[in-house]
Symmetry: C2
Subunit: 195 residues, 2 copies
């Protein structure tokens, strides 16, 4: 007889894996936490983790309740080269925020970061391992971490002001007004003098 | 005998005024809410509100638990003219965030906005009536609301990234590195083409 915790398909097993993964990613970070170690801590077979969630990256996205695929987004935003990134990035984000599923998910990530240090750490891990690494690989920027954190500061601030604080006229401005106003900022953060 | 609620100095009177004011400012906004109406709703004499809090503006700042004087800050930041605002503003905010009293207060305002729509409304009212109006009066900018909301988006994003999400290298960068990287953004938002 296997241990009760190792039975596949048991109600609550998926949630047990998720909550164990959340605690371990927050404590040890994404790179140092293996599917094997999460499975061991949850008392399940690693194959069951793969069965429910696929790869470690998918499990991490499930923990963060991020309903988008960062690899796909980064590849789409970077497709036209660095000069086109600012407008593409803003249009992609504005569309994601207007979406009834991904918009609230972004707000929830930020809200969680204000409430719990572990949630802030998960968001940080997400930005570094799922977004910055891909951006660096696609665009090959010098000073990528500084440039990326400047871009993130403006994009996160835009999200907060437009969707949470809702300060006018930025809260109701059409997407293209936002793109015209903010794209030059992101252009300088990505390619201009910042250091 | 006056009504119990009208007795000055009764324990809890100050807190009763504060919670009544919080609800009324959030519901009706700063301009449409008078000290007289707050006093009436709290069942106290208006003189008692003035005794505890001074002006309506001071009461509003007490509601928001903002331990700074926006009039003083705006006047200091604007003192050198519009061209000097970006660096002065960033240095002032970075110093305020590093301060053990005002730093947590700013974070608490943002955190509250993510948690409660009424808190977001109070922050909005604060930005418009206590900051934007003074900035407009001091600098006389065209398109002041759009320019102000763009500046606010970058400054709020910087606060979130540096102090809450703590993404490196922006989280630990010396103040002057932040000023060099971000001041040109604020300069364009205040004086450049944005619309």
């Amino acid at each position: 007889m296997p241990r009760a915790g190792r039975r596949p398909g048991q109600p609550g097993t998926r949630e047990l894996i998720l909550s164990t993964a959340r605690a371990m990613f927050a404590e040890g970070g994404f790179d140092k936490t293996s599917v094997r170690s999460i499975a061991a801590a949850a008392g399940v077979d690693p194959a069951l983790v793969h069965h429910y969630f696929g790869t470690k990256e998918r499990l991490f996205l499930a923990v963060l309740q991020v309903p988008i695929d960062p690899a796909e987004i980064v590849s789409h935003v970077a497709a036209g080269g660095a000069r086109e990134v600012p407008a593409r990035l803003l249009r992609t984000f504005l569309a994601a925020w207007d979406d009834p599923v991904s918009g609230p998910a972004v707000v929830a990530l930020l809200k969680g970061s204000f409430q719990h240090e572990w949630a802030a750490r998960l968001l940080r891990e997400f930005l570094i391992t799922q977004v910055l690494r891909r951006v660096s690989a696609e665009l090959g920027l010098e000073d990528a971490p500084l440039r990326f954190s400047l871009v993130a500061s403006q994009v996160i601030g835009l999200a907060t002001l437009r969707y949470v604080v809702r300060l006018e006229p930025l809260a109701s401005a059409p997407s293209e007004v936002v793109v015209r106003a903010i794209a030059p900022t992101l252009d300088r953060y990505l390619l201009g003098p910042v250091a």
